[in-house]
Symmetry: C2
Subunit: 480 residues, 2 copies
Amino acid sequence: MSDVGVTVKKSEDFSEWYTQVIVKSGMADYAPVKGCMIFREHSYAIWEKIQQIFDEKIKATGHRNVYFPLFIPESFLKKEAEHFAGFTPEVAWVTMGGDTPLEEKLALRPTSETIMYATFAKWIRSWRDLPIKINQWCNIIRWDTKGTKLFLRTREFLWQEGHTAHATKEEADQEVMQILNEYKDVMENYLAIPVLTGKKSESDKFPGALYTTALEAIMPDGKALQMGTSHQLGQNFSKVFKIKFLDQDEKEQYVWQTSWGFSTRMIGALVMVHGDDKGLVLPPRVAPIQVAIVPIPYKDANSKEILAKAQQIYEKLQKQDIQVVLDDRAEYTPGWKFNEWELKGVPVRIEIGPRDVKQKQVTLARRDTFEKVAVKEEKVLNAVEELLEKIQKNLFNKARKFLEENITTVKTYSEFKKVLRKKGGFIRACWCSSPECEEKIKEETGATIRIVPLKKEKTFTECIYCGEKAKEVVYFARAY
Amino acid sequence: MSDVGVTVKKSEDFSEWYTQVIVKSGMADYAPVKGCMIFREHSYAIWEKIQQIFDEKIKATGHRNVYFPLFIPESFLKKEAEHFAGFTPEVAWVTMGGDTPLEEKLALRPTSETIMYATFAKWIRSWRDLPIKINQWCNIIRWDTKGTKLFLRTREFLWQEGHTAHATKEEADQEVMQILNEYKDVMENYLAIPVLTGKKSESDKFPGALYTTALEAIMPDGKALQMGTSHQLGQNFSKVFKIKFLDQDEKEQYVWQTSWGFSTRMIGALVMVHGDDKGLVLPPRVAPIQVAIVPIPYKDANSKEILAKAQQIYEKLQKQDIQVVLDDRAEYTPGWKFNEWELKGVPVRIEIGPRDVKQKQVTLARRDTFEKVAVKEEKVLNAVEELLEKIQKNLFNKARKFLEENITTVKTYSEFKKVLRKKGGFIRACWCSSPECEEKIKEETGATIRIVPLKKEKTFTECIYCGEKAKEVVYFARAY
């Protein structure tokens, strides 16, 4: 880490604060290639935690990891018309291998439905081959021409994409919901970010899907961020790619499919939602470093004794699988170290000074509230474990409170526009279900339907835009 | 799994056998994109095991994972002349983003030295910032124009690449050797593949390196396979990319660098070295499934009791972290299942039939030797654990014996050519150290110097090719 800490306040210049926190904490950096970023140690370690958590979940439910090629022939992308229309504008194309122009240009995967499903057709013959439940962790390329935003909008990012094939629609529906719930669990119980879940409107669903479900979080600036999606693909792709099977009655059927993904953009949400003016604040369950021990040797005190004590506590915590570092670097002062670990968002700092040694105690400092508490040496393990749980809960509760305060029910379009202008957040309103009204609202305000609740909510006015009979209650927001 | 088992013998058509084993066992498949492959569940799970084993090792020695962009501007590749010359012929180029031609064409990483080191220059200022020890797990693109061979030669493959920067040459030398030793440990003690280690000759070192160390294994057809490399880059890249630091005396210095990698081609070696006419044979430490339990219900016996017993044993093994499946599928016969688990290389099969239940025993079948042994129920856990260890050792010992038998010392060039023609394997011979002789031998025989031993061996003839004074003993082979 070079330079000093974050020089702007989160409340004053959110965008600049976001970039500074990420770059200065060692999470990420801009790459020397336009539109790309470097995932440095501190963010990649969070990604590894997320991978571990989710991977265990999907393996427990019978999914297996695979790896399909990065390259997708143009002809494959073209097979599903909606899909092609949806992705082609932002595809990067390989046209040369060495000095030789390619016969057919190759897309770098913007998503892998087409390359995978061309092969599913070969693998699936009978009901015995079903279900197929696979997933891959990989890089994804989308040639966005808008400005780069670290984690949220880059031309390359990392994600997981699950792809399944089933004998019946019901089974595929269940898969879509099961994954939606697993995603929610990861986001709320690990990242400590509460989400709204629901379906996307017809015009906003995944290109080629029957319907799309999504998870949406709210950021401190009032904008929504899509955290993940789980799609019921129906038989759209199976009909195009001829993925058929003989059922138990020897009748030929097309498979029902799902696909679902979340990406490294979640790390951007993590920064935005929990960070403060001092830098990152990481929820303990995804923090690569949960505890930093900083010995504070004074000239006139016995610094050897302090270091020995620090070492002892380090070993005790490590043995219990707590991710802990002992920061005994001689070239930095304790104050400098405090700042660094705060910038990096480490949930708990343990300070050990001469007074602590004398009184057989240590000082625990919470990253989320800055509270400090002295704890007797023999109780340090329990105290740290409890504190980590407390911090995890506190971060989630704070974020949930913010989410709840930022859902506003409106009855008129002028109210809608006013809330959007003054406060942002999710706006709960009634809608006639027509894509025209949806499009007009988007044009005039920049707000889109983020989700249509899975459990239909009772309408309470006419359509907010056209005044015709409303068919459903939906949640609008401006979004990243 | 479709179709029947492997239809050719390993000893009769090695190349066809290799492909059949891989495709029929569900390890991999050809992709519908030329030169590419699909890593299916069964090989990706092995890759995950290898990742886990090596990741733990490098993290324990202070390395951290990161992720750098796939895209490398042409100008970066060009900065180190040897490096550019070495990689450019097999680079895939992105020239279009959506409909728009790019200003500068972008290489898909054939390796990441240049993109990483352009950024190292920004991160490193002082001796306090050193060492940098990072690694990434990623996809790699090399636009090979030769025929595709699953795992061994494909245009995209997966690997890890470590990159480090140090204050001194000694430190970098140590890093190179440390990694070489870790690689050797993974290959010998997990993959059960013995390797020769040493340096590459000057003409065969990594483009841009000071020297390259490598690990070489021997395949059953007598060809060598490079399993991994660890490079001392010296200051070649740091001078080009201006990666400088102020040392403790405030003097400006260039850093010393290393890079090192192994790839999914190791999985190809695993298939070749251990497989047999029935299919894969996996060493227990990297087998995704270590034990398959197959209940054998007969009509006239109590099949419920058999299933209950199988379930009991399944749970007992699973609790001890043994990777076990209970194959209770009703739609397949026990015989069919035996074949499938053999094809997939599962080290131990547990058979439970009516006789076993009656005698309170189970039957363990070894994949490597096909031996069967009855074991009392209460001893099954110990017996399985012991058997897995035994199989691991047996596979390594067999492979080591084969390696030893396939190192032939020769004193004349005609002997050299005869051994190469009749037997292959490593040929140990004396060499004058001139690139001209090395090149001539390659032209005339197809054999290259695979390694120059780290500990110089005593020469025993003149140079095998030119008859001048020999400077060293080296190991030649034809290689994949």
